[in-house]
């Protein structure tokens, strides 16, 4: 049974088709990335999963519980860190966390609350009013609130937008630990290097549709391949290699060419072709594509 099963979710806001039939199955224990440009539908999808929004059609189950018809059981299994930095100005950090815990029917949860606070470096602020906290500290509380009931599925909607390096490291250390302990993590972020480092599988969303879905390495390997950058000492690029050049402008000027290669075995024939043509190399680099290249390629291609 998938931790999160999303089946053909459609959502329209008047003229805008926010989600045009999204289906995803996220297995238990995955660290799953949900990427896409602003307006792609990521937050709408998360809101539907969390019951903050209702889909026009389709359904979502969390550990087998439908988020509409069986919402109580579904929400017990889900922790959501919202994108907006919201807080209740009436209460201290500890009161906030105790109450969030109580909403889930948990009594005597102080041991876990203390542990969550310690892991997010909040212990020193436990009795501080929410209003008196810095933005970064409020963000930590927001994360802690999502975790008070130890949900098996944790959704983080751009948790690191505008936060400093220290919090990012603290957060990923703790979330990484939870993931290793079996919690399923769903992350949306604009920091692609973060997604590349953390997620084992990624879906890319564009205009309300899934345009790519694969393991992180798979996406990088299959979609983009690698790049071989050649700088020639003299001579010009043999005609046989010109179709591999990824930036046509390079053919017109200069002596540096970026060639697309799918794997290392292609390198030797390229060098052989250069030798045959009597072209000498000044410099050569083999660059691995990263998630950003994949992202740009997919978002540019899938119109």
């Amino acid at each position: 049974m998938a931790a999160l099963h999303i089946t053909d979710i459609k959502k329209r806001y008047q003229a805008l088709q926010a989600l045009g039939g999204v289906s995803l199955a996220i297995e238990e224990g995955e660290f799953f990335g949900l990427l896409g440009p602003n307006g792609a539908g990521k937050t709408t999808l998360i809101s539907i999963i969390a019951g903050l929004n209702r889909a026009d059609s389709g359904n979502v189950t969390i550990h087998g519980h439908d988020v509409v018809s069986d919402y109580r059981a579904a929400r017990m299994k889900l922790g959501v860190v919202p994108q907006e930095l919201v807080f209740d100005p009436f209460f201290t950090v500890r009161e906030t966390l105790r109450m969030q815990s109580g909403y889930f029917g948990l009594k005597n949860n102080d041991k876990w609350i203390d542990e969550v606070m310690a892991n997010l470096d909040l212990t020193g602020k436990a009795d501080t009013n929410m209003r008196a906290l810095s933005g970064g500290m409020k963000r930590r509380v927001l994360v802690a609130q999502a975790l008070v009931h130890k949900p098996p599925v944790i959704v983080l909607d751009e948790p690191t937008a505008g936060v400093d390096v220290e919090l990012r490291q603290t957060l990923w250390k703790f979330i990484g630990r939870l993931n290793r302990e079996g919690h399923t993590i769903v992350l949306t972020t604009h920091y692609l290097e973060e997604a590349q480092a953390l997620c084992n599988r990624i879906a890319m969303l564009k205009s309300g549709k899934v345009v790519a879905l694969d393991s992180t390495e798979g996406l990088i390997r299959h979609i983009s391949g690698s790049q071989l950058v050649l700088r020639l000492k003299h001579g010009s690029l043999p005609d046989g290699l010109k179709p591999l050049v990824s930036h046509p402008a390079e053919l017109a000027d200069g002596n540096q060419y970026t060639l697309r290669v799918t794997d290392y075995t292609q390198v030797e024939p390229i060098l052989a072709a250069l030798r045959e043509a009597g072209v000498a190399l000044d410099d050569m680099q083999l660059q691995q594509a990263d998630l950003e290249d994949v992202f740009i390629q997919i978002m540019g291609g899938a119109q």
Binding site: N53, A73, P82, F104
Partner: protein, 254 residues
């Protein structure tokens, strides 16, 4: 604690932390009404035979405070949470629509009753009161508070901005309370306005409440109880339906 108990406790704590504004201030306001109106009208108006005006005024002011504060609590809590965005913390939880309804309404009832009790304690010394039927006092105070708490919940869900809520309060709640016979008996009104007053549900809450003190009222208290009861059931049904559908709380809900 269960989810409902937590929400109830949170709502109590929310107003208690700012009790100067939510409890003390309305008690002082009611005391001022009593001093001013009592002083001006004491020797000029006799509403019921054998009942002095100040004595008549005390239950009216107590009930007015109960009603207005019950409304203020649920409505301001909802609108503040909506506008600051922290309502999401409640919406993400497994709390059912019944629990949400009970949590918000009961906490608002408690605030209404605390303020009402406070007003009673500071004003009771100014006029002679009998306690002819204490059970009626309690029943009408509870039902009146529950009705206004529910109206506050509905207004808080419906309003998207503070000024919409203020309009609801200033153009509906305040006139209906003031015109419900807090300061006068409707028998002192011309027949037309007497008839109009019978369409104001707030009138029955105050009239029934006052009956508990004096054993005299403009309308039979059983009739008032029936009307107030029906009004409560209708409003509660509406509020629970709004919460169940997610109307204006969960985007895209109908």
């Amino acid at each position: 604690m269960t989810g409902f108990q937590t929400l109830f406790y949170k709502e109590i704590l929310r107003f208690w932390k700012v009790a100067t504004q939510t409890v003390t201030a309305p008690i002082l306001t009611a005391l001022l009404y009593l001093l001013i109106f009592g002083h001006v009208l004491q020797d000029h108006v006799q509403v019921y035979p054998g009942v002095q005006y100040t004595g008549f005024l005390v239950p009216g002011l107590v009930m007015m405070s109960v009603l207005q504060n019950a409304f203020a609590n649920s409505s301001s809590s909802l609108i503040q949470s909506k506008i600051t965005g922290n309502l999401v913390f409640v919406l993400l939880t497994p709390l059912s629509h019944w629990e949400l309804f009970a949590g918000y309404v009961l906490a608002a009832v408690v605030r209404g009753l605390i303020v009402g009790a406070g007003v009673f304690v500071v004003t009771v010394w100014f006029g002679h009161l009998d306690f002819v039927a204490p059970l009626w006092i309690l029943v009408f105070a509870l039902m009146g508070a529950a009705i206004l708490a529910t109206l506050g919940l509905i207004a808080g869900i419906w309003a998207e901005k503070f000024d919409q809520l203020a309009a609801f309060q200033n153009f509906l709640i305040v006139p209906l309370t003031f015109l419900a016979g807090v300061f006068y008996s409707i028998h002192s009104l011309p027949p037309f306005w007497q008839a109009v007053s019978h369409f104001n549900p707030f009138f029955y809450m105050i009239d029934g409440f006052r009956y508990g003190f004096f054993g005299q009222s403009d309308v039979n208290p059983l009739t008032s109880l029936g009307i107030v009861g029906v009004f409560l059931v209708v409003l509660a049904t509406l509020a629970v339906r709004m919460l169940r559908s997610g109307y204006k709380l969960r985007a895209g809900s109908h």
